[in-house]
Every structure is written in structure tokens, then in C-alpha cells.
Symmetry: C2
Subunit: 615 residues, 2 copies
Amino acid sequence: MNTGELTDLGQQLRVDSVRAAAAAGSGHPTSSMSAADLMAVLLARHLRYDFDRPAHPGNDRFVLSKGHASPLLYSAYKAAGAIDDEELLTFRKLGSRLEGHPTPQRLPWVETATGSLGQGLPVGVGIALAGKRLDRTGYRTWVLCGDSELAEGSVWEAAEHAGYEHLDNLTVIVDVNRLGQRGPTRHGHDLDAYARRFQAFDWHTIEVDGHDVDAIDRAYGEAASTKGQPTAILARTLKGKGVEAVQDREGLHGKPLPEADEAISELGGRRDIRVRVQEPPAARMLHSVHTGDFELPTWDKGEEVATRNAFGQALAALGTGRGDIVALDGEVGDSTRAEFFAKEHPDRYFECYIAEQQLVASAVGLAARGWVPYAATFAAFLTRAYDFVRMASISGSGINLVGSHAGVAIGQDGPSQMGLEDLAMMRAVHGSTVLSPCDANQTARLVGAMAGLEGVRYLRTSRGESPVIYDPDEEFPVGGSKVLRSSDRDRLTLVAAGVTVHEALAAADALEGEGIQARVIDLYSVKPVDRAALRRAAEETGCLVTVEDHHPEGGIGDAVLEAFADGRPVPRLVRLAVRSMPGSASPDEQLHAAGIDAESIAAAGRLLVEEAVVP
Amino acid sequence: MNTGELTDLGQQLRVDSVRAAAAAGSGHPTSSMSAADLMAVLLARHLRYDFDRPAHPGNDRFVLSKGHASPLLYSAYKAAGAIDDEELLTFRKLGSRLEGHPTPQRLPWVETATGSLGQGLPVGVGIALAGKRLDRTGYRTWVLCGDSELAEGSVWEAAEHAGYEHLDNLTVIVDVNRLGQRGPTRHGHDLDAYARRFQAFDWHTIEVDGHDVDAIDRAYGEAASTKGQPTAILARTLKGKGVEAVQDREGLHGKPLPEADEAISELGGRRDIRVRVQEPPAARMLHSVHTGDFELPTWDKGEEVATRNAFGQALAALGTGRGDIVALDGEVGDSTRAEFFAKEHPDRYFECYIAEQQLVASAVGLAARGWVPYAATFAAFLTRAYDFVRMASISGSGINLVGSHAGVAIGQDGPSQMGLEDLAMMRAVHGSTVLSPCDANQTARLVGAMAGLEGVRYLRTSRGESPVIYDPDEEFPVGGSKVLRSSDRDRLTLVAAGVTVHEALAAADALEGEGIQARVIDLYSVKPVDRAALRRAAEETGCLVTVEDHHPEGGIGDAVLEAFADGRPVPRLVRLAVRSMPGSASPDEQLHAAGIDAESIAAAGRLLVEEAVVP
């Protein structure tokens, strides 16, 4: 395509964006119009992509970080022949694949769900890392960002990571249209301000008029040929470009154009340019090839092992067996024990430093390329990346997250380091799996099982040692539980997970000494929860005590009640959880102060079987 | 103090850090030793602070962002005479004020809880904003950071904010000791790398030998006299400085020194230097002065008003009445309606752009200075700041968070914009209050009530209009609920909040048409929850249907069951919630597809009263 044709294509993308938003009665046409020329040149001249084979290993990867500019993306799909005009006009309607913000669950050409700003570049970094260090099929990763979203710290975590890793296969195109949602951005059209920031993080930068298709073309070429550095293209554009009534004006974000027909005329009317997108080079994936024998580690009953150690050893073993397993950590691999994997498989280990948003985003990017990531940090610090976890679930991304140092049982370090909200946070994520093992053999099995699940998987591990209570050959299906004690005289059931399992067992001993038989359930699968076992326990023992090293909301207690949320009779129960703000103290002192140690459990159980209300 | 005395003081801080960690058997002495000279010079020469009057309005503000270096902080408190040696040696023990990571809940000189890295500077920016724009008593804000934590994006959100706001009352001191927890940082001792980054964000920078007390002294002086820009002092230091066995060595993070007595000798032995910290200048607070009459807005029954609008109007009115109310927004004030406050009180409005971590951190900083902040963005995007919310609760910070665009009811924009985890996330925060109003009058009253509460307060608002159902003079105590329908023939209770209240009312109408009387409870106070009303409803009607525009985990359904978690009989119940991943559709279509509209509620209620299990 020559200059005139590219310009025409840009206008077509604008017209189609205006039409899609008009048909929907909502959407973000002005944010699409600013980036239309940037998209036109990319599509017609630089992107190498086979729309018929989105899984082609040689395909370039495109991420629309400013996901609200979805009309532009869908208009580009139409220009490439991937969708037709009829489908374009289903935009934002019930059942349409063309959602307000694009998601890979609906469209095969979308790499990651966007719409929460500042996530496209971090995920793009993950994809580019896969390309550079693992896939090596030569694809480029292109990320189209807005200028507003550069205020997000996650963008600078990504910039730091990409600069440090010399990701010259990554290009970010910033559509600097100077207007955010409610008004001007901090830096307006000051391209230098953005360039200085990217340069400081060791990026190559190019400043360009984002409506000059030849200049854009040269910039893309320069980006593609720059070695040793990622490139940021800072493009000066006008929001609503091409339609006088909306161009460069405030107060028009996220609104269809007031006079769509006039606007379309002003843009030169409908066109039907069809772009022949460049084919990707022949390439084949390597990572499915390498798979060998391996055995998950096992421990003898009675050994004292921290579940974080079992995680690290199991992950290292899994990595030996499966070449598609990768691991990431946020500069605490010596604590989470992800370092065990790093030592055995340094080529598949990604040090993310103290940047938990980039940690999770890298995992999402790697998963988008078919790798099976395990990303670890302290459970408490995964709260830093909650928006990324939420968006991962919208992407349908298959990622494993591992949070160590759960609960007050960590001891002296105090509340800032204690994961006390992690179960609540992870359970509330759509389609998630939440696992909380109590011994080393169980942990290892669950680490292995996680690899084969869908969606966001979360494993909670503990800092301190605990006794191995399961045989090495015991199995732990996801969605199951283990009845550790039971008799036909059980008068109540203690339900626990992780460290509190050991406390519950001790409490059952104490109660037995008083003539009260207690069933004990190890609820290692917090989500999905073992409804059948809980219902059976309720029917057979009448009442339950749940005990968790977590705040009372959203954890084990709530998970147990899911089994009784369909109208069936609900058992009487008491929930023990961390209800006060912990300070520094030893692990045993912490469990006691929180009222989740054996003594507290036994006391609650005693009151419950006496049909007293527990204070 | 002269050079020799300052050097001696630095050694004393090292010795006391080593002693405290040795007494505790845990802690981070090497991270304390690197910054000891930086702290010594600050304490003896530059900090203006009255330890007897921590609330003195003229006091400088010091934030230890690298909270794990708490031994250094406590050693400095000892040197200043604020604590004695006996207390110093209680470090990390049960009941001690001297926790593993410092918190203001225990120590009056701590501005904000730290220990989750990358939070000190953002909160420091909030404090400096208060100093610059509101308090104007001339205090300086000093933040001591580690180098590792500069990988956190939140640091660069803060850097951007401070640079843009010209916060020349803010100094960050970076202890560049080149070693993180598990090994070297990305940039080692390359001070220029950090300087380039801060400069790009429009900071003044100074590079210094962090063990040269005279050079440090000059740097602090230069920082204090720099106008128009914040200053970053990049100090080259050695982790474990002064003790050969640990100095500049890997693998010694977070561990007491192996031979404490020898180390203390090597550091010159115990000293007992007492520092006379400079007095703050006389100053008085201004913001308690201005308070006038105001009336919260009201609406007539039957009007159609979005609760987000009611929030905006109520907040603006509250701001008129109370001079200590401030508002912040993450560049979506036109959507959250925080802009209503901005228009009336621009001097007390803080635009945080798209940087939700800084949004919440600014609120925490402002609250630390006695202001009453309301920070608003989309409910979905508050997930971005969850770690800051968690740490705010550890601080005991009194902040109001407002999340708009809750749930699938927002319609076409799709799941990335829908707050569907917000209730779970906020309920799990220790000591939080969670409010979910359904009409404008209720919203306004709750906005007013929030100002007087403790801890983290969260208000959930809706995008679309809903009918006003309460009289303007109705009261809504926090912890209460409203019974909207009841009779002595009620066979079930529908429990809802926010948009689902209106659906529940319509469902009750439909059921009544079939001869089934249903009680309807508006559970506007999700936490604390109205246990008494729920228990009464359970006793009188036998069974409950909960319905929420939220994922099934951690929201209304779980909150309701808290009322029955003490061993008392639990009613049969069914929980309706958003169990599938929404796409784009109209609000009504969304509610229907999620199974939380009137029709779905009526269907569930019908089955429940028939004692059937609801599929």
C-alpha cells in the first residue's frame, strides 16, 4: 500500500469505528479515531499474522492495551477479512463476540483481555519474554497504549523489566492524544516527557506525528530493526481525528459521535478496503517436544517439612518432567522456594524482582504463548496484583499462583507479611481453583495437579515446618477433601486446611479425652469445595467448627457454607478465624492469640456440642 | 554534632540494631546497618521533630519505607530518648510495641505501616501533598527507601505524582546497598541508573556516598533548599556495613548476625549517645477551624437517580460543611461523580490520574495528617490498590473508598469494568466497613456517616439510575438494615443490597401474586451486618434468599451467614450471585443472564418455600 492507500485505510478504520459505536449506542469511537493511522500502517505494512491460524507460532502478537478502543480493533479485523461488516455491527450486543473491551475467551486473535488500563504492556512483556527466551520463532510483540495509562505504575514495572531484559522484539506504540476520560493528561502533547521516561528505563524511543502514515511506517521499521533495546513510539495524535465536531475536544470520551452520518461523510464515506496482512514466516514450536520422566518428591510420615519447601521441590521435579513448565518469582525465591526450580531449570526461570504486577502479567503473557507458569511470592504481596489476577480470569488465562507465608503462623514478622486476605481474594475470582495443603506429600501432589487445570489456580503455602501426615502414595483430587478422623459416634466435625489441620487434630485428641468424638476434615481444596463430604459430615455429626489462619471473611468458613447454599438444611456451626490485628510473636503465640490453636478449637467444639452459643 | 560524633552515632545505631535482632532471634540488622549513617545525620542534623508531641503540626514527617529495617528505626528512637534500652530489647516479642515492621497503631511516631515494599514513597507523597496544599505549616517529609523496592510500579506512580505537583517539601533517601533479599538488585551500585529515572520524572537528584556523614549532611541541606522539585538522594551503601563477616555479602538478608558480640566489638562496642533532635517551628493547624452549616442533599420518592450521583452531591455538600473533608479520584471523576466535589472545593480535590495505588496511598497520607479523605474510582479498579488497602488497615488509617460501576448492571462495557470482587476484597480487610446503598437518600446519609467511622470504609455505588424508595428523613445507621416488606405470613426473606434491592421488591410482588408472602431486607450495611434483623427474619420466615450483583464468594451471601456463625440454628437458604463470566449486554439483559433479576429471585424463592433443593 502506498501513502494514499494507507491514509484511506486509516479513514476506513475511523468510519467503521464510528459505525460500530453508532450501532451499539455506546463505545469509544474518539479513542479509536486517534489511533486509526497507527493501526492502518501496522496492519498493512508491519504485522505478520495469519488470521486463519491465530495459533501459528510465527505470528506477531498484537495487544490493544487501550482496550476501550475496541471499535478500532474490530474495524481492523474487518479490514483484514477476519470478520464481516454484519458482525462488526453486533458490537456490544448480547451474544456478540465483539465486546466493549476485547477478550481472548471470545475472539481467537486477542492475546489478553484488556480494559483495565496499564495491563497491556506488562502482559506484552510476558509475551516478548516468551518470544525471546523460549519460543525463539522470531515473532514481534506490538502493544498499542493510550497516553493516560502511562500514569499506572504497572507500565513502569514493565518498562524496567523490558529494558533490563533487552526485549528488542517488543514495541510499544503510544497514542498520545492528550485527552483522558475526564480531561487533559498530565503531559498533553509533550512527547519528550514520555520519551525521557522510557529512555531512563533503557528504551529506544521514536517521536512521530501519529497521523503521518509515512512517518509511522518509518518508525515501525526503525523499531523492528533496533537491536538490544525495546522501542517506544510516541505518536502525537488527535482524539476524534478527522471529524471537526469531536476532534481534540474534551467531554467526548466514551460516547458515540453525535451525528454519525455527517461524521462518516466528513471522513469520506464508507470504504471497503481489504488488507492483505503479511504472512508469518514458517516456524515451529519447540516447547512441546521436550518431556521426560519424572517423579514428584515424597516424604515419610512424621518428617517435619514446610509446605513451601515441598512446593519448591515438587515444582523443580515437575519442570524436569515437563518442558512447558516455567517459574517466576518476585525476588523472594529463597523464601517461596521457587529458587529450587531456578537452580535446576535456569533457562525457564524468570526473576521479576519486587514487582508483583509484572510477576503476574509475565505469567499471563507466558500462558498466552502456551507455557504453564507458576508465579510465586508471599501470599500477602499477591494482593498487589489483584487487578491482574482479575483480568487474567477474564482472559481465561491458565496461570498458577503460589502464595507463601500464609497467615499468623509466620510469627514475628508481623501483619504486613501475613497472607490473611488471600483466600477471600482468590476465591472471588471467577473460575479459580484455591488449594491450601497441610503437608508435604499433599503439596507436591497438588503442585502437579495444578498444571492440568483451567483458569487461575492458587496454592497457599506455609512458612514453618509441619509434620507429614499422609502416605507418599495418597491422592488428592482437586475438589476433594480428606477425612482424617471419623467414627460412628462423632458429635461434631472440625474443618481445617493448612496449618490449622494440625491444630484440629490436636483438638480432636483433647476432645476425645473428654469423651467427645470429633470428625476432622482436611479441606485442602478450598475451591472447588467438597460438598459431598461436608454434607455427609453435617448429616452424621450435626454441627461443624471451621478453623482457618485467615480473616473470617471469604475463607474456609465461607467455602464450607457453599455446600449448603441450595436450600438444603444447614448445620449449626462456629467459625474460628483471625479476628484481631496480629502483632509480632512466635508462631505458637500467634495461633493462640488468634484463637485458632488446638485449645481454642477444642473449647469451641465443646460449647457447640452442648448446643450453647459460642461467644 | 561534628563529623566524628555523627560517625559515632551511626555506629551506635548499628550496634543497637545488632543487639535488638540478637535479642529477638530474628529481624533485619544488615538492612539497618547500610542506612545507619543516613539515619544518624537525619536525626541529629535535619529532622525537626518533637518526640513528646508527635501530633505537633510543625513536626517533619519521617517514613521508613523499607520497614524491615525497623531495628534501625527503633535504635534511632532510643538515641532520641523516645524509648529506652530495655524496650529496645523487646523487639519482635509478644506484646512489644516494637514489631517486626513498624505500625502507627503501636507507636505514635510512625506515620504509616510499612513492610510491603514500595508503599512508603506513595504515602509520603500523600503527606507532602497535605503539607504543600493544605497544612502549610512548613514541615518536610523524609522517606527512607531501599533500592530493591524501586522495582515496584507504585514508586513510579509516586515519582510521577510528586514531580508533577512540584513537591519540594519531599525528600526520598534511597539506601542503595545493592543487595535485595535473594541476591543483587538489577542495578547494583549504579546510582546513575536510579538518578536517570527520577530525573525523567522531574526530580532533583543527588548522588552521595551513604557512609560519608559530611556528604550526607550536605545532600540533606541541598534537598531542603531545592525549590520546585522533590529531591531523591541516591546513597551508595554497603549492606551490613561495619562488620566484615556480613558486609556486602549475599545470603544474609533478614537474619541476626551470626556472632553478635564480636560484631558489636568490631563496631566499637556499645555507646550511649543521646541525640537532641531539633524542635519543630511553632505552627498551628488550620483545617479544624473552617466548619459551617450544610445539608445533605435529598430526593423525593420515585425520582430516578444513580447512587453515584447521590454520592457526588452528598460529598460536595459534606465538603461545604466540613473543612477537613478532601476528595481524590483516579481520572474518572466524571464517572464516579467525585467531580461534583472538585467543582465546589477545588482546593481540597486531588486528581490522581490513572494511578489507583497512588490514589489510595494519597488518601492514607492525607489521613495521617488528620484529613478525612474520600477516594473514588471504579469498584473494579480498586483491586489495583488492594495491597495499599490492606496496609491501610494495618496502619489503622481512616480512609473512605468509593467504588462506582459495581456489578453486571453497568451493562455494555463488559467484565473488565464491572466490580464483581469488591465486596469480597473489602470485607476481608480487618476492621473495615462495607456499605452498598440502593437509593439516593440512603447513599447521601451513608456518605455523611462514613466520615465519622474508624478504619477503612468502603461505599459501593451503581452506574445506572434507580428509583428513590426512602423518604428524605429516613436514617441508616451503619450496622443496620431496612425491612422493606414484612407481614406475619412471610414464608421467606429476600436479602439484597444495591441494585438487587429493586429486583427483590419486584420479585416479592410477583410471589405475592402467587400467594407467597416474602419479607424483603435491604442489607445496605454489608459489614458490619445486622445480625439481629437477619436472625429475626430467619426465625420468623424460616428461609432466606440472598441476591447480589457480585461473584458468589465473599459478598452478601457470606455476610448474611455471619449472623449464624456462633452455633445457633442456621436457616435454609439459597444464594443468587453472578456465577458466569458476563459479556456485553444491556443492564437488564445482564441481570437476567446472571440470574439475579426479579424473575430469577422469584423462581428461587418459590422452590425454597416448597423445600426443594434449588438447582
